[in-house]
Symmetry: C2
Subunit: 496 residues, 2 copies
């Protein structure tokens, strides 16, 4: 083990794959999460904040058979004892909580949670090792009414944060229907579900990629396999053309109305008991949502949506934004998925041995924020503070009093606290702070009981896009009585 002998300065660097958020990046995300929390709360969901740290044992599924179980998670060992790890999502901690507090919590337990999660993955462009999730789940409700509620709440939440109706759609499907179709295709044997498990996993992941690979690509993966552009070969599920045809029939089973889609699915699942159960569940969900006024313009049945995660056991859903944006290459494309979820009935069972039905949804916070910025709902100029400049450092009290007066009127304000010697630096500072107004009072102005207000919005607008001509009637600065400071600033801000 090498050690550095001479002390050197530490590097000032965010660890690789992590990010720092500044100013509006923090407050805009917070505003969005607050709005979503409000919707969840209104629906009877309770806040839950678990510790960021879990035992690796409780987290479970990332535990490979190695001494150091840090694949996928950030983990460390307590002195010769338990391995601890940072949570990788908000569902695993919920399962732990639902088991641990099962005698105290109301059942069904509706909870929402928002906060950072951590993934020990290779950092890459757009791939981060800490990011926010925002989840709502119902634990202990066997009926698909709980799934319908989650779908409706998701639509409400999207509208509440500023995605207009028509710009999103919540798509609903059911894993049981897919399994029924698999039964018909001969890759699921109800008397021995362990048979063809691997093949079904491949089918699931293939369907989940249809947006990217298209029909033909998915068919390759259902059959022998597919070579991608880089030449890498992905082994397929080995289905015959007839079997693949059955599966592809399911993927494209969406019809113009929910009722028509249900009818088509009923044909496809044939005599499969599980499949019929899934179709009935979808029908119930559609009926419940219709009754609440959630028509196909907001929530629709779409057999093309399967979600990649293995643990879903019934209804699955996904919220997609339908408006177009320009991708990195300048091509128009739909914004796509910002949220997904479904029913997972086995996660709590890991702890207690008893099956506990659960369903929930997770909103991709960063993607939804990006969508709101694309819609112009966020990312507006951040309002900087009014900056009270310092002309005479013996009169700091006066400058502080001006800032206090402004704040008492609810106006964001601060006194310049750098070295006041170079006045130019103070104005540069005010610019960098996106300050709308600089307040100036030298000894001459003080003697006359006035202050000068410099309009920095004007300067910024001219620099940005307007000509001076357009603004010529607006004074670049005005002198007002000290007693009129607050009123004049308020008026200037209203004009700005």
């Amino acid at each position: 083990m090498t050690r550095e002998k001479a002390p050197r300065r530490p590097r000032a660097e965010t660890p690789k794959g992590f990010r720092d958020y500044f100013g509006a990046e923090v407050t805009e995300r917070k505003a969005m999460l607050d709005a979503i929390a409000e919707v969840y709360h209104l629906h009877g969901f309770e806040a839950l904040e678990t510790s960021a740290v879990e035992t690796v044992e409780a987290l479970g599924k990332f535990l490979p058979d190695v001494d150091r179980p840090n694949e996928g998670v950030f983990a460390w060992q307590e002195d010769e004892k338990d391995w601890l790890a940072l949570r990788y999502d908000l569902t695993a901690p919920l399962a732990r909580v639902a088991a641990q507090y099962r005698n105290d919590l109301a059942s069904p337990y509706r909870r929402y949670a928002m906060g950072p999660v951590w993934r020990n993955e290779k950092p890459g462009p757009g791939r981060f090792r800490q990011f926010y999730q925002c989840d709502a789940d119902t634990v202990g409700a066997p009926s698909v009414a709980a799934d319908a509620e989650i779908c409706a709440m998701l639509a409400n939440a999207l509208e509440r944060v500023g995605i207009p109706r028509g710009d999103y759609v919540v798509k609903v499907n059911n894993r049981k229907v897919l399994n029924g179709v698999m039964e018909v295709a001969g890759v699921l044997d109800p008397s021995d579900p362990s048979k063809f498990e691997n093949e079904r996993g491949i089918v699931l992941r293939a369907i989940d990629k249809i947006d990217r690979l298209g029909d033909a690509g998915v068919r390759l993966l259902l059959g022998e396999g597919r070579k991608d552009d880089s030449g890498d070969f992905t082994k397929g599920a080995g289905l015959s053309a007839e079997q693949a045809e059955v599966v592809m029939g399911f993927v494209s089973a969406k019809r113009a109305t929910g009722a028509a889609t249900v009818a088509r699915l009923r044909e496809l699942v044939g005599n499969s008991v599980l499949g019929a159960e899934g179709v009935n569940e979808l029908e119930t969900i559609a009926t419940l949502l219709d009754a609440q006024g959630f028509g196909a313009d907001r929530i629709e049945l779409d057999p093309g949506v399967v979600r990649g995660l293995g643990y879903y056991t019934g209804p699955v859903f996904e919220a997609e934004l339908t408006f177009e944006i320009l991708d990195e290459k300048g091509n128009k494309r739909q914004f796509g998925s910002v949220s997904g979820g479904g029913r997972y009935d086995d996660l709590v069972k890991r702890f207690t041995g008893q099956a506990v039905p659960a369903t929930g949804v997770s909103i991709g916070v960063d993607r939804l924020l990006a969508a709101l910025r694309a819609k112009g709902r966020m990312g507006a100029e951040a309002a900087g503070p009014v900056v009270v400049t310092v002309m005479d450092r013996d009169r700091m009290s006066d400058y502080f009093a001006m800032a206090a007066d402004l704040r008492n009127a609810g106006i964001r304000a601060e006194v310049y606290l750098g070295n006041p010697k170079q006045f130019g630096n103070q104005l540069k500072y005010a610019d960098k702070r996106q300050s709308p107004i600089a307040v100036i009072q030298g000894s001459d102005e003080a003697a006359r009981g006035v202050v000068v207000l410099k309009d920095l919005i004007l300067g910024a607008k001219i620099a940005e896009n307007a000509t001076l001509e357009e603004w010529k009637d607006r004074p670049a600065q005005r002198e007002v009585a000290r007693g009129d400071l607050v009123d004049t600033v308020r008026q200037m801000l209203a004009e700005g």
Copy 2:
């Protein structure tokens, strides 16, 4: 290394020293932090959210000379590379950010930050390994006007969250004055500050304990040392009685007015240049605060406050709540400190080699929350949702529509989603949810177009403290037309 052969169920346990927060515990803390953030923002401070993970190198001071640098922090090694760790406070990440982004950030940089921090300490009663901090700091402002601003903002923040004026006091002192007094006492040699460094550390920690140990206990620690109740001996600073007298004179130098305290301190620091500088700084701070109307009822000079942390270099401050609470033994005692801070001019220098002046404050989120609960400002009955019960599971759509109607009127509402067979379970559930009202509609009521509203607030009040007599005019349940559901519920909630 032992391994368990047979798979067993994982334990559903919060890791030792960590906590889960439920419902109002989450939302009340959030409301408090939101209010504080509003005050910070109004003062021109910008939000900053750094990653929870830092390199151990950047965190610095917890790095002992051992292979595994996890003393005090939770740390792990990236594959043969950097050690990473969870942040232990919000100041170390700020120093890293101030160095890393020094060319982009406005200077001075005012920032606030709130979020969890982690300490790898032995868990114990009331000692947790993850807790919230809420900080505001100004980096790059050499003038003590920045310290005065922080003190004033701290007072504003306390009042904003609900601590009335008179129930708190912000105490201000200056390390330079203490060092001046040390110079007079002969334990600081300005020509060689490294001399007596250990002794001065002991003096600092001794003074910091005066509330607990009293004058006599502190004098023992200034001299040879002190044996505590358990028999453990703490070595003292080894000061003579005369030297200790000088130090104790400083601790008790507080006078009735700030001006009188300043005058007393000027006597005590004698010819010490550093001491005189400290007294002048205190005077400037007092003058600035007076001018803004922060009198001694809110902010006062108190030489008894030194703060334990080694890195402070100038002004230090502490917010104390002055009202009394009952401690665990039923004795009255003052609530005490909820916040502290001070000037630290050397933290950024670690990275850049250039001194960057900085000052800031940290609010103890859990203690302030406890104070607000003690003052009855929080912890009121959490408002549970109106629960729409399920009498007839074929009419879930009707029940969902009722809940949706209530929510559209802004009333928190949910449909019971457990097994509806036992109606008693539904009412027990509503009770556990602290629901104010249960909505009931069986087939009979449905046929007549009415709903029954059961008043659960009434039941709770009777169970809690009132006699039935007091409530006899209030009906336990009422039947209203389905069309009057929302209006009646709203009216009942207003009465409740």
